[in-house]
Structures are given as structure tokens and as C-alpha cells.
Amino acid sequence: MSLLEVDGLTVGVARSPTSILANVSFSVPAGRIVGLVGESGSGKTMAALTMMGLLPDGIEVRSGSVRIDGRQLMDPEAMAVTRRAGDMAMIFQHPQAALNPTMRVGRQIARVFSLQQGCGRDEAMSLAIEMLSRVGIPGAGRVARAYPHQLSGGMCQRVMIAMALACRPRVLIADEPTTALDVTIQAQIFDLIRDLVAETGAGVLFITHDLAAVAEMCDAVTVLFGGQVMEEGSRDDIFRRPRNPYTTYLLDSVQKEVDPHVIEAGVDFELVGCRFGHRCRYAWEECGRVPDLITVGAGHRSACFLHTVEETRAGAS
């Protein structure tokens, strides 16, 4: 059983038939890094916010469950996530916005320790400084006394990570953790996340649009488009043996020469069937319905009606 299991999550705009996440399921096993990949508008950030119970006003959970270690995290009555400290921590894309600007960063981390372990002020602070040096911040004592605005983006991101680690989370959700950072800093942050997994056996949900980062970091990948899961599988499945037309399109757009004159339409959330329907070169009448995820290999599933056709053809011949 996986550490984090998200099952049939459907999230929509209040008082409107459109859904931002439609029946999304994925899981993160302990000690693994799972990538949640998609373009902007694919719903990947919305999935993270739902799990953290941080949905903005006007967005509501319609159905689905979020479980950690088999324990239900979502209150089915209120359709809201009831999180327990230590279950999950999240690293945001813009660390400056996620840190409290009026509090020294050391205090912010120390507060996590005192809230969670009930230790005293001084002890919490020394734990905070220790944590800051563990994430590779030189002169941690000095940095602990700084306010977020006095630190660079890379530094703030590491403070965020230190804070997330201070929670000793079972699951770490990293939402575009390095998109705003330079590659040399990105490499340091990636190492930190890998170290966390190796040391504590935590599961990481790594949310990004950057396929190269996924290839570098993840053990398994879930591909999202327009709030629907298109394909899921191991890293090798997705990069070497992609089956879904959307995954192929995504990989091609990065690796191959593309026709510059094809204009890419955005995500259309009002489509009834497959959300990739209006961009897919294989689309046909069946695609007016939502395809189910079909097993196409061991641990490799893809949602596309092409697979049903292939099966029938294979059966006939």
C-alpha cells in the first residue's frame, strides 16, 4: 500500500458544471519521488492545494478521497481536508510569498519545533539553526536572524525546505520548487530532496512542467492534462514507451522539431469528453466521452480510446 493515495478526486468551480480536476487518482509510495506533470492549467497545483486543504474561495471538492497510510484525510461530509501535523508539508514555487515577512526565518522554523515537539524556545531555536545548516545554508546562525526579504530566492527556498523538513513530514509536496531558481541552485535543492527521501523514507510528490527535471528526479510519473490523468507509469514507461497521444505530444514538443505555425489552443474546461480532444490528431467520435485508464503494461496505464481499438484489432487478428 502506498503512503499517499489520492483516489477519484474531483474539484470544481462552485455553482458551475465545470471541473478543474476530474476523477484524478495517483499514489506516492514511501521512499519514492512521484512526478505530477502537466502544462499550466493542467490542474497540478490545484491537486496540491486540495491535499493541503488550501483551496481558494469558490473552488470546491466534489468527491474523492485522500489517504495517508490508509488513514482518511478528507472529511467526506464537509469535503474538506483535515490534516494532521506531520502528515504533509509543502514547498511552494514562490518561497518569498509563503514565508511570513514580519518574522525572522529562524523563529518561523523554531515555531514548527515548539508546536510539534513541545520544546522550549531556546531548544527550538537551536534545532532551527541546525536544520538550516543541514539544508546547506552557510552561516546558519546569521541567516536565522534575517527576515525573508533580506535573503535571495535560493536562500528562501532552502529556508522553506528546512521548514518543511522540520515538520518531519511523511509526504512532501514540492510544487515547482526550483522553477524560479538558477540551475546551480536547483542542483543543490534536488540533492536536498533526494537526501530527505534516503534518510527518512518520506514520499515526495514532485509537481512540475519541466520534463527534464522529472527525468532527473522521479521514479514514477503521472501526466495530467486539463484536470484529467492521461497516463501514469514508471519513469522509463513515460519517457521510453509513452502510449498516450498527449504524452507523446508533450515529449515531442520538447525533443523534436515542431511546426512553428501550429497554434496551441489552451485547455478547454467545458469539453464533455477527453480534454485533449480538440488538440489530439487521433480524435474521433468516441472521444466525446471520458476515457478510462487502461492498463497497457505492468504499472503502466493510459487513458485513451486508441487502446480499446488496438485491443479489438489484436483480438481480431
Binding site: V183, D210, L250, V254, V262
Partner: protein
């Protein structure tokens, strides 16, 4: 024949006195006709300031920018030079006037720079929209009715409108989804084949630069530390900073085995640079001389220049 763009000893310092921030600290760079030169570097390395000085939006503190043989003076850029050097910005939504229609935006440079009368702009706009892959009906749209990729196409169209010889592209794909980047790059290359325009392509994204540039300059703390043909540079980097940068850039190649060089610490603040080489505190090859003297760009091979004492020909 001299290069189309010749940058010599270019410097820019923001502010004065003790808090003065040297953003560009003596840059030499050429761009030939029809060539694409990529400038890569991390945030704060001065690449955007360099781009803005070339486009005439920021005045250099010192040094020369020569364009087609004549010296550009930031303050009095003539209409003709304005016409011949254009720029595309990083944020497509922000770089377009949100209250203007696409057609009105494209007409402006035509009328103001190329002196085309209002009555003749319509055909040229339609032709340009076609070139960047947009339907002629887009001329009546406003920026907010366009997707990010479409906005950037409009921004590219605006820059090409007065038929420039050089287009400065400042991170033109950074704020776009990865799946769109390839298309914009392909579009830029297609345009270059048709229009014979030169590009100065600024980016922090090595993968993007690799797909478009003929030559690449790597900047670190306001100086170019290595410049070479794109293929040479990506396949065989020489400067220790370039090596580290390439070694940690993620790729989709699952089979790649390489030694990652993780640099210690962060880029030092440009306001408090050490004496000698500015890369000394993070450099794996550092030795005594690096702490005393500043290296300069030196030719170390065919068309390759490196600014490092530890790298010989």
C-alpha cells in the same frame, strides 16, 4: 567587413559610491549578420542589462556599442538605428499594451519608424501575422484575449514590423510552458531563414539556447567567461563555471551518465567582489594567482575564448 554588432569594453554600474552595483563589467561581443548569439548566465549576471544597452533602453556607463560601423549613443538613438535594432521581452502579457488592439500595436512601429502611411499598414500587418503563424483576424484582438504563446507571437511580430537587422530576445520563452517553447524557437528560426535577421538571444535556459544559437557566450557576474561555437561549447565546455552549469542542467536523456559538479554556495553579491577572479570562491580549480589577478578572455582554440588562468590552449 566589420560585424553587424560590435560591443567593446561595455560597462554599466547602477548607483554611485559604496552601494554602486556593477551589473556589466567590461563585455566584448560581436554578432555577425544572420547569426544567432546566445548569452547564458544565472540571475544577476548582467545579461538583461547587456540586452537593454544594445537595444538602447539603458545607457552604458562606459564602452562602445558599434552597429553596422557607427557608434550607438544611448541617448540619441536615431530613428534609423531604432528601426534596425528591436527587442522582444520576457513577459508577453506585460510587454503588450493591454488597452491596444494587436493591429494598432503592429501599426505603430511601421508608421513611426519606417514612415509607412497609415493607409498602407493593413497589408503589411496581415503579412506579418501570417509570418508568425497568426490568423489575420487577430488584428482586432486585445492582449488579454490571447494565450501566452499567442501574445509572444504578437510581441515577435511587433519587433519584426520595422524590418530590423538585429532582434534582441530577452528570455523570450522563459515564461511559457515547455511545450510552447519549442514552437517559438522553431518560429524564430523559420523567420531568420526568411528575413536574414540576426538574434542576440538572452536566456538562463541552456536547453533553449542550444536549440537556436550559432555561438554562445556564458556570463558570470557581469563578465563573459567563455564564448565559443554552440556545439563546441555544449560538447566540450572549458571554463570551470560553464562545466558546472552544463553538468547540473537536467536533461531528458535517461541514459546519460555524467559527473555532476555541484558548485559550493551562491553567486557572491556584485557589490562586494573579491580581488582577482570573481569565480574564485566557488571554483574547483582555484589557485593562488586567481586571488591576485583578474583573468581576461583569451583565445584558447578555434574561435573559442575563455577567461580563466587554469585553462590553456
Amino acid at each position: 567587413m566589420p560585424a553587424l554588432l560590435e560591443v567593446r569594453g561595455l560597462r554599466k554600474t547602477f548607483g554611485r559610491g559604496r552601494g554602486a552595483l556593477p551589473a556589466v563589467r567590461g563585455v566584448d561581443l560581436d554578432v555577425e549578420r544572420g547569426e544567432t548569439v546566445g548569452v547564458v548566465g544565472e540571475s544577476g549576471c548582467g545579461k538583461t542589462t547587456l540586452a537593454r544597452m544594445v537595444a538602447g533602453l539603458t545607457r552604458a556607463t562606459d564602452g562602445d556599442i558599434r552597429f553596422d560601423g557607427s557608434v550607438l549613443d544611448g541617448s540619441s538613438a536615431s530613428t534609423e538605428n531604432r528601426r534596425r535594432i528591436q527587442m522582444v521581452f520576457q513577459h508577453p502579457a506585460q510587454s503588450l499594451n493591454r488597452r491596444m488592439s494587436v493591429g494598432a500595436m503592429l501599426a505603430e512601429p511601421l508608421r513611426l519608424l519606417a514612415g509607412v502611411p497609415r493607409s498602407e499598414t493593413a497589408d503589411r500587418i496581415e503579412e506579418m501575422l501570417g509570418l508568425v503563424g497568426l490568423d489575420p483576424a487577430f488584428r482586432n484582438r486585445r492582449p488579454r484575449q490571447l494565450s501566452g504563446g499567442q501574445q509572444q507571437r504578437v510581441a515577435i511580430a511587433r519587433a519584426l514590423m520595422p524590418d530590423p537587422d538585429l532582434v534582441v530576445l530577452d528570455e523570450p520563452t522563459s515564461s511559457l510552458d515547455q511545450s510552447l517553447r519549442g514552437r517559438i524557437i522553431a518560429l524564430l528560426r523559420r523567420i531568420q531563414q526568411i528575413r536574414d535577421v540576426s538574434y542576440l538571444f538572452i536566456s538562463h535556459d541552456l536547453g533553449t539556447v542550444r536549440r537556436i544559437a550559432d555561438r554562445v557566450a556564458v556570463m558570470y557576474l557581469g563578465r563573459i567567461v567563455e564564448v565559443a561555437g554552440a556545439r563546441q561549447l555544449f560538447e566540450n565546455p572549458r571554463h570551470p563555471y560553464t562545466k558546472a552549469l552544463l553538468s547540473v542542467a537536467p536533461t531528458m536523456d535517461l541514459d546519460r551518465t555524467r559527473e555532476r559538479i555541484i558548485l559550493e554556495g551562491e553567486t557572491p553579491s556584485p557589490t562586494e567582489l573579491p580581488t582577482g577572479c570573481s569565480f574564485q570562491d566557488r571554483c574547483p580549480l582555484v589557485f593562488d594567482r586567481c586571488r591576485e589577478e583578474s583573468p581576461v578572455l583569451t583565445l584558447v582554440g578555434d574561435y573559442r575564448e575563455v577567461e580563466c588562468f587554469a585553462v590553456g590552449p
